[in-house]
């Protein structure tokens, strides 16, 4: 039982390549610029795929498949509304200032444009969030390996207790990521992200193809599933009539504008990839190149979720006897002892089983007595159900690769912000370049250790993951207001930006404390100051938190800027739009010019929305 030799061999070959790339790059890591900025010598397409891949961590592949199963094709809003417009904006309008300023990181841009305290605030918040994101990726991967029983057979054969699998999974993933970043820095991370992107396509494309064939294609899905699952805009006029529980204007403002621009336009995790490009024009093309596969990704990661609930499982003639498809805990003794929970445990939607409590092994029930489905298993169960050994190894490798690149992306962003924006700015201002390179490697080790600690913190406190989602909404929410004013309004001052950011984050926090989604009790997720407003869903609450935080940050930045001394215009050349000479792009061919690429991408998204409306 378990995976066969060929599956293990495929995984092994992949990991040999991952580490091999690190070793091959070791010799070219001579300066801190090589290590943290990939020497600023990458071609645009390589950075573009890495830009996309770095964001493709645990939350992405597993989460989008899960949302596909839960909400249907409306999940594509997270791509077509919640990513593409912001990616076009950052490429066409913002990248000249990030790249042209010669800043080495996003917080460093804030220091050049505003002042030290604004940079400090951003650097510390960002460092904290990357460590937790990386820890969540690690945690999710170890849980998945455990849940799919991938390592059970080798462990029993070696006489090791199965309870060690979680810890060993964390240790192995940490060591692999540590090794290839230590050896090859950002270049190594970027190269591996490209590899991982291609692997995801190679592993998931046949899955979607086989899956669709077996549910009768897209038309088959349309007939099997409720209408709202196959139409992304159906019922969006009211929060009560669509699966997401938000109206279209909340979606467009909260997700499409505030949260999406706050992430894609300001998050150093992705911007770092674009800043590694070999020229400013290449850097501007990076997000636009990434946008093309990004808008097609719903077909690779969301569609499997829809197929997973449409499939009518055929257990009798199960084609892959070795597969551990997790369908209801049939052998759970607790379930057998209790007839009601036993019935519950046999419930499923397609390939999606009922969620079981990891402590008691009992099926989980929500406050209305309805079973809770474990949507996170949509994609893993699809792989195990449809793939025979051989290609199954490829699919699982793709899945593991996505977790690792999510971790590596966060760790490379962390080591750069730590070394340049915290260590060099506050602890050792006169450090030599060789010392910074050493510090970068030390920060990589430190970042990984902190991620491991974060992964275990998530293990011990179940609600940390939910709490962090909430933290991201009010930390990322206001950021775009700061950058928008910083880049396009020369009157914005450092005091204004700092006050605006603080006010925005505080507003977000207060908003969460004062509101609740309908039907939830007071928890860390809301209402702890007394609920004065109820939202139709958690998503709606989340979006409005971000919208309020953004508006307050925008307004406070303007008011405080006008009340403080205007910055000297000479210091803002290259940092603000109106004071920066425009780089001519006439010598580029039309398809290399960011504005045309951007328009083409937006047209593509419009067409996709019309097709799947």
């Amino acid at each position: 039982m378990g995976l066969t030799t060929i599956d293990w061999l495929i995984m092994l070959v992949y990991f040999v390549f991952v580490l091999g790339i690190g070793f091959a790059l070791k010799r070219s890591m001579r300066t801190s610029k090589d290590f943290f900025q990939a020497g600023r010598a990458m071609p645009a397409w390589v950075c573009g795929l890495a830009f996309l891949s770095a964001n493709l961590g645990a939350q992405e592949v597993i989460g989008m498949g899960a949302s596909g199963a839960k909400y249907g094709i409306a999940t594509s809003h997270f791509y077509w509304i919640g990513a593409i417009p912001a990616m076009v904006f950052v490429g066409v309008f913002m990248m000249p200032f990030y790249y042209g300023s010669r800043a080495r990181s996003v917080p460093e841009y804030l220091r050049m444009r505003f002042d030290e305290k604004t940079r400090g605030l951003n650097a510390f918040l960002f460092a904290f969030m990357t460590v937790f994101s990386s820890g969540i990726s690690m945690y999710a991967m170890a849980r998945l390996i455990q849940a799919l029983h991938l390592l059970d057979t080798p462990f029993t054969r070696m006489g090791l207790p199965v309870s060690l699998i979680f810890h060993v999974s964390i240790a192995i993933s940490a060591l692999i990521v540590l090794a290839y970043i230590l050896l090859g820095g950002l270049t190594s991370a970027i190269y591996n992200e490209v590899l991982q992107f291609l692997l995801i396509v190679a592993g998931f494309l046949p899955l979607v193809w086989i899956g669709l064939k077996n549910v009768g294609g897209w038309n088959g899905l349309k007939q099997t599933l409720p209408g709202a699952f196959t139409h992304s805009w159906q019922g969006m006029s009211s929060s009560a009539t669509n699966p997401l529980g938000v109206e279209w204007y909340t979606l467009v403002m909260g997700l499409g504008f505030v949260l999406s621009f706050g992430y894609w336009c300001t998050d150093f995790l992705v911007i770092q990839r674009a800043m590694a490009a070999d020229s400013q024009n290449a850097a501007r093309r990076v997000p636009l190149i990434a946008a093309v596969p990004k808008m097609l990704f719903p077909f690779l990661v969301i569609l499997p979720g829809l197929i997973a609930i449409a499939v009518v499982p055929r257990f009798v003639e199960q084609p892959v006897p070795s597969a551990h498809v997790i369908l209801a805990s049939a052998h759970g003794s607790a379930a057998e002892a209790d007839p009601t929970s036993s019935n519950m445990a046999n419930l499923r939607q397609g390939l999606i089983p009922v969620k079981t409590d990891p402590g008691t092994g009992r099926p989980m029930i929500d406050s209305n007595g309805k079973p809770v489905f474990d949507y996170d298993l949509a994609i893993p169960n699809m792989l195990l159900y449809f793939f025979p050994s051989g290609i199954l190894g490829l699919g699982l490798t793709a899945l593991l690769a996505s977790f690792m690149s999510g971790m590596a992306g966060n760790v490379t962003a962390f080591n750069t912000v730590w070394t340049y924006d915290i260590y060099q700015s506050y602890l050792n201002k006169n450090a030599s370049d060789a010392h910074l390179l050493w510090m970068g490697r030390a920060a990589t080790v430190g970042g990984i250790l902190l991620s491991v600690a974060a992964a275990y913190a998530v293990t011990s406190f179940n609600n940390i993951m939910d709490a962090l989602q909430m933290v991201f909404s009010f930390v990322n929410g206001p950021l775009f207001a700061t950058f928008l004013l910083g880049m396009f309004w020369k009157r914005a001052t450092g005091h204004g930006a700092f006050a605006g950011l603080l006010a925005g984050v505080t507003t977000g926090l207060l908003h969460i404390g004062l509101t609740l989604p309908v039907g939830s009790g007071v928890s860390v997720k809301g209402g702890w100051l007394g609920a004065i407003h109820y939202y139709p869903s958690e998503m709606a609450q989340n979006f409005w938190t971000a919208i309020f935080a953004w508006v307050v940050c925008f307004a406070v930045t303007i008011v405080v800027s006008l009340a403080t001394k205007a910055p000297n215009e000479k210091d803002l050349v290259g940092l603000v739009h109106s004071l920066t000479p425009k780089l001519p792009d006439q010598d580029l061919r039309w398809y290399q010019q960011p504005k045309y690429l951007g328009l083409a991408v937006l047209a593509g998204v419009l067409v996709l929305n019309l097709i799947f409306r």
């Binding site: 060929i6 061999l9 495929i10 070959v13 992949y14 390549f17 091999g20 790339i21 091959a24 790059l25 010799r27 070219s28 990939a38 020497g39 010598a41 990458m42 390589v46 270049t187 190269y191 490209v194 590899l195 291609l198 190679a202 046949p206 086989i210 064939k213 077996n214 003639e317 084609p319 892959v320 449809f386 793939f387 025979p388 050994s389 051989g390 290609i391 490829l394």
Partner: protein
């Protein structure tokens, strides 16, 4: 940057494609009925192999062009 990314991509997909295709030939399961009549390992292995070789050729052309 010392290493052309297309080289590791090319070799990885050439090796994985070859492995899958060979496995597909020697271990074809007629009972695998999700795609009747298709040897998925052989078919997809061959596709990956073609992609891998294309990447290796591209990197070779680039090196040759750089030498000239």
């Amino acid at each position: 940057m010392g290493l052309d990314i297309r080289v590791p991509i090319g070799w990885l997909f050439t090796i994985l494609g070859t492995m899958l295709a060979i496995y597909g030939v020697i271990n074809h399961r007629p009972t695998y009925d999700w795609l009747p009549g298709t040897n998925i390992n052989l078919f997809w292995g061959a596709a990956l192999l073609v992609f891998g070789i294309a990447m290796l050729l591209l990197s070779r052309n680039a090196t040759a062009a750089a030498r000239k």
